[in-house]
Amino acid sequence: MLKTEIPRVVSGRDLIRDLNEAFDECIMLRNMDPDLDYYYAGPSCGLPVELIESKSRFLSNFTIFWITGTDTVQSEWFHTGNVRLLCTEHHLVAENAMTTDWQILATSGRLPVIYEPEILELDNILSRLGVPHMVDRKVFPFLSKAGMEAVSIVVDILADRIHSGAPVAEVRVEPLIDVDAGQWTEVVFTIQVNLNTAEANKEWDRVLENISEARRNIAKPEVATFLGENIGTHFTWVTDRDV
């Protein structure tokens, strides 16, 4: 496998968007002239990438190749910050260069959006907590720019409480989705604390009051709305008393 360094770092989302446009272009060209062996489509934003659908070699499957400044058609790694994408004959694979986690993004057709810049941004924000944290990646579709700002505000409030001595064991960021009717979604902070019930409820209400105060002072209405309606904080604690 040939690996090629590309000097310019691009966001994964931009890349996937360009690839999707290229896919659409390939499909349009094929509809216009179904008898050609190859369909070429170049992305719009000047990335050093072209997409080729090879009908003759792989029948109905889309096959993706990268061309990076040469005329050689080959599979290779494409680096986008900490995520690198590998295009093989049948798959587009994304690998996190830091964790080596990988996933197949697509085998053919349109590619899903990946959230590499947002993942890094959220990880940076959560590192301010100074306690173990976990993120369910299903939150990213719900995290707009305003959402990320709102998350940052909540993290600052939690970090302040933790630094003041609140015994937080772990923070998880997860989506909460209305399974029954799909009417609402929230980005939820699940905060595990080593406190008894009375202390946990007191600490929880203090955090809520701080969030409410921050909300009143925010200049951006979209951030205030997200903070008030789309972010949840759930404390959990262990109790052995009779409830």
Binding site: L176, D180, N201, V243
Partner: protein, 132 residues
């Protein structure tokens, strides 16, 4: 008319060691529905339009009840958060077969219920509704 608070009693009754996972899952679900239906009736009695007019609208009642505690006259951040916690536990109990639901989840659900019950009784719905 059935009193939805009886569901909370069912949940308390099932919060014991040695129960089956099916019973723990049922307990969490009843806790959520006990609170949700109680809130829905109290809000409706106070002129807050949360009840569905048609069968099709039924699933949207959850959103209306939740929203009522997030903004407006009945805003209560503490109740809203505990209710959110209950929904999270309930979705896990009713839909996610990969997680194990145990007595600890039921206990946590009841902790949320206790807070909500207290807030309903003392502040939000302490006074009887006035007919308008």
């Amino acid at each position: 008319m059935f009193d939805p608070k009886e569901f909370i009693g069912v949940c308390r009754g099932l919060c014991q060691p040695g129960r089956s996972e099916a019973e723990y899952r049922t307990a969490v679900s009843r806790a959520l529905y006990g609170v949700f239906l109680w809130a829905r009736e109290e809000l409706d009695a106070r002129g807050c339009h949360v009840k569905a007019d048609t069968y099709k609208e039924k699933p949207f009642e959850h959103d209306r009840v939740r929203s009522s505690f997030k903004t407006g006259k009945f805003r209560h951040d503490g109740v809203s958060s505990r209710l959110g916690g209950l929904y999270k536990l309930r979705y896990g109990s009713d839909y996610d077969l990969d997680v194990t639901i145990n007595q600890g989840h039921v206990t946590q659900a009841l902790e949320y219920v206790n807070y909500i019950q207290d807030a309903f009784g003392k502040g939000l719905f302490g006074a009887p509704p006035t007919t308008s």
